[in-house]
């Protein structure tokens, strides 16, 4: 699986999920309709999106996705066509939500992320765990080998559903 596209650089740390999707949009019982409100809570969100209208990969600073557990942040990214986020670190819950929804969370050292902020297009080889910026040399990263399956094939709930007999057996022996 290759995720390729132009980038949306957000050269700041601590982009919280309230900035990614404000709470007043969390009023649906499905996962649709979030994309049009992506980054509305970020003071310069609309400006950044207008500068990079076709972007599909976010490149951001440390601790991306901190704060609220709202999975709507991942749904909003997907809804706007974003398939990956590259950052030096992610907040735990967003990190899990990204994997569970097929948004590729790429962790790279801060100085590498800083360099990527200047790239135009990035191609991410999810299976091979490498990426290339503007056709340059491949840069390696690591994905969680288990959660990577959920990016490549979906099916987080199918995976857990298949675990139910093991869970019941464990509980019976508890």
């Amino acid at each position: 699986m290759i995720v390729e596209g132009t980038i949306l650089p957000i050269p700041r740390a601590n982009i919280d999920t309230d900035q990614i999707i404000p709470a007043h949009y969390l009023t649906r019982i499905d996962t649709d309709g979030m994309g049009e409100h992506l980054f509305e809570g970020m003071p310069d969100g609309a400006k950044l999106l207008a500068l990079h209208p076709d972007a599909s990969i976010v490149v951001a600073g440390e601790n991306f996705g901190c704060g609220s557990s709202r999975e709507h942040a991942a749904w909003a990214l997907l809804g706007r066509g974003f398939k990956a986020v590259i950052a030096p670190s992610f907040a735990r819950i967003f990190h899990e939500n990204a994997y569970n929804n097929g948004v590729v969370p790429v962790i790279l050292p801060p100085e590498t992320v800083d360099e990527l902020m200047g790239a135009r297009t990035i191609a991410i080889d999810v299976d091979g765990e490498t990426l290339r910026a503007d056709g340059g040399e491949p840069i390696s990263f690591e994905l969680d080998p288990l959660r990577k399956q959920f990016v490549l094939g979906g099916g987080f709930l199918n995976y857990l559903n298949a675990k139910i007999p093991a869970v019941r057996a464990w509980e019976a022996a508890r």
Binding site: A13, D18, N63, E71, L146, I164
Partner: protein, 444 residues
Amino acid sequence: MPRSLFDKIWDAHVIEELPGGNALVFVDLVVAHEITTPPGALAIEKDFGDKLYEPDRIVAMIDHVAPAKDAATAIQAQTVRTWAKRQNIRFHDIGNNGICHVLVPERGYVTPGMTVCCGDSHTCTLGALGAFALGIGTTAQAGAMLAGCLILQRPKVMRIEITGELPPDATAKDLTLSVIATIGFRGGTGYVLEYTGSAVRALNMEQRMTLCNMAIEAGATTGIIAADETTAAYLAATPAAPAGWAALQADPDAQYAATVTIDGSAIRPVVSWGTNPGENSPIDGFVPLDADAESLAYMDLKPGQPLKSIAVDQAFIGSCTNSRIGDLRAAAAVLRGQHVSVPTIITPGSQAVRRQAEREGLHDIFQDAGALWTHSSCGPCLGMSMGVIAAGTRVVSSSNRNFPGRMGDGGRVHLAAPAVVAASAILGRIAAPAEVAQRELAPV
């Protein structure tokens, strides 16, 4: 091998180890509210025959927007309502509800040693009861409801010892904000914060909940405090009065990935000045000279500005951080006989807290002071309902997040303890409770 408190709970709940350092972890209780639950519940209905692992291991409530504010939130509430009824899930509807992190402990649903999850980041609050409680996304919550388990990376454990005792004017809110300032806004990422020490032991359960509530604001997976006689007395007084739980403790020689020691006697009342909770300073102090420029630009503040010079447009006492009866008593002690000078909203954390406050006459004190006394809801804390602030305005709030736009697009939030919020509401600027008392003593 000696183990931490967290290690003991983790080890007792791991079903199997999974690739990549992940583990399948059994979940004793899933807490479900109307904002994050519906897509997961509907996915289980659509794709998995509507079968839940064990409905008895779920408790549901309407808490974020209570009652519904519009057609969309009414559909959210109705979805949870009909789902809970269909699945025979314990359900707390409006009138009998509360913010999940207030209601769940006060009913006695959580006991020490349990694992608890909820599609809500402040689930770490419940670590105050000696449980491993964490916030997760909607899909992970659906997994916990479908299969009774979570997939988790084992977190490291940071021991945070608060020595000595807190000064009389310092609260659990000041302590938790100070912990975040000490370890950093993302300093807890990848860790469970195991709070210990004499100043922690001296906290009552509500105060311990306030301390654990903001572990997520340091990026931590959760906070946790070992159960003791305070925990036992609290649980015995709950409606469920759970029995049969064991008070797990860390082994004396347990090894920790990190250890932090904070002098409790040095904790001062603090107020946030920036756009994350770690950006806070003692109320008697100033906006730091090296404060982040972007934070100050958003907050419209200058380095070196005295915090007490900051005028506020609105005040809010509520949220899962500070909305319990002790918080309301602290606010009432300041507001008694006074009058607020800015719009002030006081929102109890649960309907049970509301009723207790009214038995004590606190609602009269609040309303005599000109504050709006509401029913329970998450309300304006997350900018969803019941007091969302206008762009460009400034609120002093007992809640937990001061992110840009958190309580309303373009709004500015200063986090503080309830008594400080009350004093600020009276004086129309960031103010310490002692200033209200001094004003009374001053010659007219």
